[in-house]
Amino acid sequence: MVISPVHYIAVPLLAAFLMPLLAKIHRELTRIVPGLVILYLGYVSVVLMNQVMAHGTIVEVIAGWNAPWGINLVYSPFTGFLASMMTAMAFVIWLYSYRFKKVDSQPALKYFILFMMLVTGTIGIVLTGDIFNFFVFLEITAISSYSLTAFYRDRDGAEAAFKYLLIGSFASAFILIAILLLYTQVGTLNMAQIAVRMHDVPTHMKITILILFLVGLGIEAEMFPLNGWAPDAYSQAPSPVGVTFAALVVKAGVYGLIRIIFTLFDVHGAYEYLIVMGAITLVMAELAAIRQKSLKRMLAYSSIGQMGVVMIAFGIGTNEAVFGAIFLMFNHAVIKGLLFMSGSYLVYNTPNKEIQYLSGYGMKMPLISLFFSLGALAIVGLPPFAGFWSKLYILIAAADNQMIGLIALILGVSIVEIVYYFRVVGRLYFGKPSKGSIMQKPTYGGVIAMSLLAIVILVVGFYPDVITPYIHNAADALLDKAQYIHSVLPNADLSQIQNLK
């Protein structure tokens, strides 16, 4: 069988349908099979990334109907990079969630099905080249996220899930209306075709559709003020799911947002809109984070804030900025993953997951604390860890565009970030743990997962060149609209395509 991008979707789906039957053979299979599937996807990623780096974008046609008639998957350096990153993170999260908490086999089965589908959904969002298919994958992601958020069946989990569902439904409604209007205007659902025909759409319709997309996808990308659900969902979902949200789901949302703005539409002001909303998101999230008592909630706000930076960087829109933004997406996935993973173990047994009970955990849980500290150092962008490089690239790009005020804003907010992260780190390393605090021994899978992430942080920090070529290609691929359209529709007329940046 030829390795092709459709494996990302088909194989996990097949496995998901199979798993209820496998569970009847042996209970452990429900835990192992997703790992194997994701491992296989990792293999697919390696093969495909090599192909893409060598020969350029792969367009996978579904059901034999060439674009624009059928659905296609576009595996460009950009989408491929994101998909590979998500696969890798999914594997790490699988390792981490393997026997994370002792649950019955039946919920475990459901957990792993939902988790695998969540991964599939996010990868599908990234890979698909069809706007309605995009919506379908968004819903797959959304429904599995809702279910996973409430997975512990506790009070707050259900509340968080309901909020998520409420706002998420708004998002799908808006996106659906947008797709509807778009279809009436261009008569197609293929993104490349839409991009080609966008020129002929009257401006006011363009703006109307864009607004609906921006609101809908803004919800998924956790843009302020549409992100009320996010901190709740992050903090109440089971820890591995929280990691998944930070590492995969929100990335998919941001991907959607920038795909719409960069490729589909040629409306002026969208980039500036991204910058402004990114800045507002950043500020609001970080300011909310500094006063949090609960560690996971703090991490959630921090995650939102980082997405704000990503949006700003995409909004700047130059090659360096986009490079920095993609780099930051990668770093954020890895680092926030590590932070959520280690943080969850730190607050495993503390009341309300509050930070104030963490005094002295550095001695009792040295490894986990080390991981958390490493993550904290990296996420605030301190060298020589991974986060530093992306920050540097973004700032350089902003400076090249004379956006000094913006840089000052990002850095000023970074100080806030430093405050609340180092509060925790400082607390970990002094004092004595209060009596009766029970340390949770991490699972082997968890330790391996965190070690992997820590190694990535260090390696990328010390030698960013392991990852930068891929990101460079990704940035080029994202910015080159004509190339995208050409690879999907080789015969398309590219003369009317406007590249705003």
Partner: protein
Amino acid sequence: MKKLLIILLLAVVGYFLTVSMSNIKFGANRMGDLSQPKTVGAFYLSKTPGELSVANVITAIVVNYRGFDTLGEVSVLFLAATGLGSILYKKKKKGEHIPTVNKPSSALLQAGSKLIFPAILVLGAYVFIHGHLTPGGGFQGGAIIATGFLLMMMSYKDFTMNHSVITWVESLAGITFASIGLIGLIVDHSFLENFLPIGYINDLISGGIIPLIYVAVGFKVAAELSGVLDTLLSIKEK
């Protein structure tokens, strides 16, 4: 006050939607010329009879042109069922049965249900088997079958769905769908691509893999909807 504000906001939204829709003439033909299709709609209408031999264009779209969507759609259902199960999961004691309805329904209803149940099942099966020929299809058929089960659940206090059977059905149906897609990938290098002879239009056996997939979808939808209903109905009131 808040009410007024919200009504005002909604008025703006409504105005916005109305203005947008006013640009889209109702009943206008936006598909263009069918012989040289520029839009997907025109393309599907013009190509379906010849290339797929499927009478129902919508079925052709749902199962073949945009079969990938449908696969996702099936997954959504599957996920909803799974998610529902995980959210409402309760460890059952062995042999415990939670009755769907507290009071037994009347004899008339019970008898009527029993009488009509097979007919509903047959109708459902008909709808999804003929999905490529007539209006309807896997989803509709599956939904019809699920209503049959709903009827039975409401009529009989101790009517139980066999969870094992549901699991098997939905899994096998899902696997069938995905496998057919993968076979297409292997045989014709394209996921979900038709690899069977397409036959003649309006024959029962025509359209290649389309009927097969729709049957699988039908089973799957039926099983999942029934499963969902069963889960929702078997919640014990506090």
